[in-house]
């Protein structure tokens, strides 16, 4: 279902209402907000995918289209799938050329109805959007009681609003009942109550994860689509970490002057012993790069959350991509490499936001969590988040005054345990643990050096640490096909849903493929094994240059010839049909050859 409106007209709450109503009816549902980089007046769309099988990605189909925006009417009309339905505001007549024979077009005079029923101009516009929810409720058999309950919950403190919203809904609903045959063949059927599931966006889940991880210092510079992470962190901290009596806060959020400063604050905070992080997007990572290299070389735990958006440059800030892999993997000048985590949905955003701090503290290095606009800003239906009250953060190798007392002398960069990870101390605790952090050449004792051997000694040890990182980051998840196959699919992050659905579709056509979902970088042995166990491996990703494929080639051996790229990078979340078609195209070409 796709709804085209104008941004700034209140359609977001109408669409949210619709989606939540379906969720409450037990229908697996996801919503994708396709919005412009603008505050008011430009076209915006909302896609709702609801299906009993629980597929979460875009299907590439539009069975029901609500075309509320005259500007985009033609485009919206063209997009309706054959056999589908288009609903439009028939207050003003449409040219007869704007018609299609293979779909059903249903006109509802929404503006006229709202103008007759509401007085204030602004309210009329808002209610026009609420009214189409009523139309859809009638056409698709969406439970009115559920909608009513939702309105009562949303406007618990403003009963007047419940009344007016409900009135608008009934206007649309009754008009549809009177004028069309309801319900349509495309309809909602109550399936249960979606027990054990929630609706949440990735940014909220990430911010919440940072709270649960015990992060106390958040530094940031606003940038779409990452802003919601700090908004959520702040809101949850205000709720859970503020002393109700004194108003004192167990956290400190600094809105920095730019991303360079935000990165510096993250380094300073972690160095001084507080879990510190920054949420940003590609342009921010570009600016942070100098500090990222510093943190790599001086070995300062630091957490960077990159909510990816379309690049290069400013690109399309409100569109999605998985385009910062290369940027983050090797950010900064000189020989640097950084671990990355790839959450595939908001639930994993929560879990990995907790994990990423442990990893940073254990590995004493910058770690990136890469989500993207699709995960971050859309509401996803996911299983409930879980928390183990026995969890305690792993702060890694930190020596306190007690431990220092036992030692002759503290040395910062000596590999005592053979895992490449050395011991650190925190300022403010003990003069015996004092050391001097520098990005300039240093030896294993932490002293300045320009000596070739001493320099190289530290750089080699950092490679040992890289090997250790491979054993600590979350492993890739394997899903075997029902039949033995030589075909494999590799994907990560928000491409997951499209691959899941595509595999089912392909299996129905007799094409079976194993699937490995990569969840982190550096790649573990399981990734290498998977690549070697399959003759053809499709690498599905949302960028132009096949960055994951490039990383696989760079970081593993002798596999380039078996990797086939499937890329989707137009800024819209990847639909499952893109994966199906990509694989089919390759297999057909092989047959022809």
């Amino acid at each position: 279902m796709k709804i085209g409106t104008v941004n700034g007209t209140g359609s977001a709450s109408a669409n949210g209402l619709l989606m939540k109503a379906l969720f409450r009816m037990g229908v697996p549902v996801t919503g994708k907000n396709l919005f412009p980089s603008n505050i008011q007046g430009l076209p915006t769309w909302y896609e709702i995918r609801a299906n009993h099988r629980g597929y979460m990605s875009r299907s590439g189909r539009a069975d029901v289209m609500v075309a509320m925006n005259a500007q985009t009417y033609q485009k919206d009309l063209n997009e309706v799938s054959p056999g589908g339905f288009l609903i439009y505001d028939s207050t003003w007549p449409r040219e007869s050329s704007l018609h299609r024979q293979d779909i059903t077009v249903l006109g509802v005079p929404l503006s006229k109805l709202c103008n007759e029923n509401f007085d204030v101009a602004r309210i009329r516009i808002l209610m026009k959007n609420v009214a189409y929810v009523g139309v859809l409720a009638a056409l698709m058999d969406i439970d009115l009681e559920v909608i009513k309950t939702l309105l009562e919950e949303t406007f618990a403190s403003k009963p007047k609003l419940v009344e007016s919203n409900l009135k608008a809904i009934m206007i649309g609903h009754d008009y549809a009942l009177e004028n069309f045959t309801c319900p349509l063949p495309v309809r909602a059927e109550k399936m249960g109550d979606n027990a054990g599931h929630i609706l949440i966006d990735g940014n909220s889940a990430t911010g919440l994860g940072c709270v649960y991880a015990g992060a106390t210092v958040g530094a940031w510079y606003p940038i779409t689509p990452s802003t919601g992470v700090m908004d959520a962190f702040k809101a949850y901290c205000n709720r859970f970490r503020t002393d109700p009596e004194t108003g004192k806060k167990n956290f400190c959020i600094v809105q920095a002057e730019d991303e360079l400063a935000a990165a510096g604050m993250v380094l300073g905070g972690n160095w001084a012993g507080a879990r510190s992080f920054t949420p940003t997007s590609g342009p921010g990572i570009s600016l942070m790069s100098e500090f990222i290299g510093f943190a790599y070389y001086a070995e300062i735990p630091s957490v960077f959350i990159d909510v990816q958006r379309v690049g290069p440059s400013t690109g399309m800030p409100t569109r999605t991509q998985q385009c910062d892999l290369m940027l983050c993997a090797y950010a900064s000048h000189g020989d640097t490499r950084h671990p990355m985590l790839f959450p595939a949905n908001p639930k994993e955003c929560f879990e990995m936001a907790v994990q990423v701090f442990d990893l940073a503290d254990r590995l004493q290095t910058p770690i990136f969590m890469l989500s993207d606009l699709d995960i971050a800003m859309n509401d996803w239906m996911v299983p409930e988040l879980e928390w183990d009250d026995d969890f305690r953060p792993d702060r890694g190798k930190v020596l306190g005054p007690e431990e220092l007392k036992e030692m002759d002398r503290f040395v910062r960069y000596l590999d005592v345990d053979g895992d490449g990870i050395t011991y650190r101390t925190l300022p403010g605790e003990d003069a015996k643990g004092a050391y001097f952090v520098r990005g300039s050449g240093h030896n294993r004792y932490g002293a300045y050096t320009e000596d070739s051997d001493e320099y190289q000694d530290v750089m080699e040890r950092l490679l040992v640490k890289w090997e250790t990182a491979k054993t600590l980051v979350p492993p890739a998840l394997l899903s075997k096909a029902k039949r033995k196959t030589k075909l494999g699919i590799v994907a990560f992050g928000s491409s997951d849903g499209a691959v899941i659905e595509a595999r089912d579709t392909l299996a129905e056509q007799g094409v079976h493929a194993d699937y490995l979902r990569i969840r982190s970088f550096p790649f573990g042995q399981e990734v290498i094994d998977f690549l070697h166990d399959h003759e053809t491996v499709f690498v599905v990703e949302q960028n132009r240059d096949a960055q994951m494929k490039a990383l696989l080639i760079l970081e593993t051996n002798n596999i380039a010839d078996r990797l086939v790229s499937i890329t989707h990078y137009n800024g819209m979340p990847i639909p499952s049909e893109c994966v199906v078609q990509g694989i089919a195209r390759h297999l057909n070409a092989e047959v022809a050859a």
């Binding site: 929630i198 919440l208 709270v211 649960y212 991880a213 015990g214 106390t216 210092v217 530094a219 949850y236 859970f240 970490r241 002393d243 108003g247 004192k248 806060k249 167990n250 956290f251 400190c252 600094v254 920095a256 002057e257 730019d258 400063a261 935000a262 510096g264 604050m265 993250v266 380094l267 300073g268 905070g269 160095w271 001084a272 012993g273 507080a274 510190s276 100098e290 500090f291 409930e384 988040l385 879980e386 928390w387 009250d389 969890f391 101390t425 925190l426 300022p427 403010g428 003069a431 643990g433 004092a434 050391y435 001097f436 952090v437 520098r438 990005g439 030896n443 002293a447 300045y448 050096t449």
Partner: protein
């Protein structure tokens, strides 16, 4: 090289501070700067000031950017953690560190290149945040470490070593800081320890961002005729608005002061800065007066030094953020993570 440790010899009869430490305990590694570099004199003044104030070395953090000046944190208080960050970004790292642990005593060392060019943004914003720190700018009018290019503090008309004249306007560190809302602004000269040491102490005692701009001649690239940041020039044009003494809250104010000649300024923690006024008209508690005076003296060809502006009633970063009193780094996990039950409750609103 900075890794040459100084031999530490405990001489009997050395004076000890309240913590029982000698001045030697506040030293660091051997300096690798050019002999005669003004930065080394500032380091010496810092050592004495920190010793006299009995700052516990482990409580101190020494932050810096990049430049000859930014190397100096290695040369004092070896028992303090140090952070030699990237060029122009010391303030942000200091902000993070102080956010994590508000009990630290933060001394940031920067240069005129580090603060007035590449780091101008961070310089301005740490002032705006009023981070509790001493922000020292060792100002020599040039980029020492990259061999003598003009910096943004070079005065119009001053010449480089090879004779080339700077024709651009300069950025006046103190006037800029005052107009950006700094709560403590002072200026001094590396060769004037008598004035510098009390100013360092007052800056550390100040509960906010204390900007201390210290002329610090670069003997290698900016100490010639034609330079306005040379020893000779600064000595000749130095004009003290006031001298200062810091009296800690525990001490009795025994120093005699005569009205009109001295001005006591009470600090937040109860300590007193005693300003020996040279100019009767000078009032360091008034921003417009300070800016007007600076401009007047500049036109007359003077370099005004002393405590130029102070207002310690304005809230520092943590007061603004309402951060807990205990350092965030020391909070127990139980006080940070809301727990399983809260998560279940919270998710009821997400259905």
């Amino acid at each position: 090289m900075t890794y040459i440790a100084k031999p530490k010899i405990d001489l009997p009869g050395q004076k000890r501070n309240e913590l029982g430490l000698t001045e030697r305990d506040y030293e660091g590694a051997m300096s690798t700067l050019c002999a005669g570099c003004g930065h080394d004199s500032i380091t010496a003044a810092l050592i004495q000031a920190l010793w006299e104030m009995s700052v516990a070395p482990h409580q101190l953090v020494k932050m810096s950017g990049i430049g000859c000046s930014s190397k100096t944190p290695a040369y004092f208080v070896h028992g303090a953690h140090g952070f030699n960050s990237v060029h122009g970004r010391m303030p942000s790292v200091a902000t993070g560190a102080m956010a994590a642990n508000r009990d630290l005593i933060c001394v940031g060392i920067s240069g005129d290149g580090d603060s007035l060019s590449i780091g101008f943004g961070q310089f301005g914003h740490v002032i705006r945040r009023n981070l509790n720190m001493l922000y020292m700018i060792e100002n020599n009018g040039v980029y020492g470490l990259t061999k003598g290019q003009f910096s943004a503090s070079a005065d119009p008309g001053s010449t480089a070593k090879k004779g080339e004249a700077n024709e651009m306007q300069n950025i006046n560190t103190v006037a800029t800081a005052i107009s950006m809302g700094a709560t403590f602004v002072a200026r001094s000269f590396s060769g004037d320890r008598e004035q510098l040491i009390p100013l360092i102490k007052a800056a550390i005692a100040h509960p906010g961002c204390a900007i201390l701009d210290v002329f610090s001649p670069c003997v290698t690239f900016n100490d010639h005729v034609g330079s306005t940041k040379s020893y000779a020039y600064v000595r000749e044009h130095l004009h003290r608005a006031n001298g200062a003494d810091l009296i800690m809250p525990a001490e009795e104010i025994s120093v005699e002061y005569r009205e009109g000649e001295t001005l006591p300024v009470e600090m937040h923690d109860g300590s007193m800065i005693l300003l020996k006024k040279v100019d009767a008209e000078y009032d360091p508690t008034s921003r417009p007066a300070a800016l007007g005076y600076l401009e007047k003296q500049r036109l007359a060809g003077y370099v005004v030094t002393g405590l130029l502006f102070v207002d310690d009633s304005l809230p520092e970063m943590h007061a603004i953020s309402k951060t807990a009193h205990a350092p965030l780094k020391d909070l127990a996990f139980e006080d940070l993570s809301p727990g399983g039950e809260a998560l279940v409750e919270l998710q009821k609103g997400l259905k």
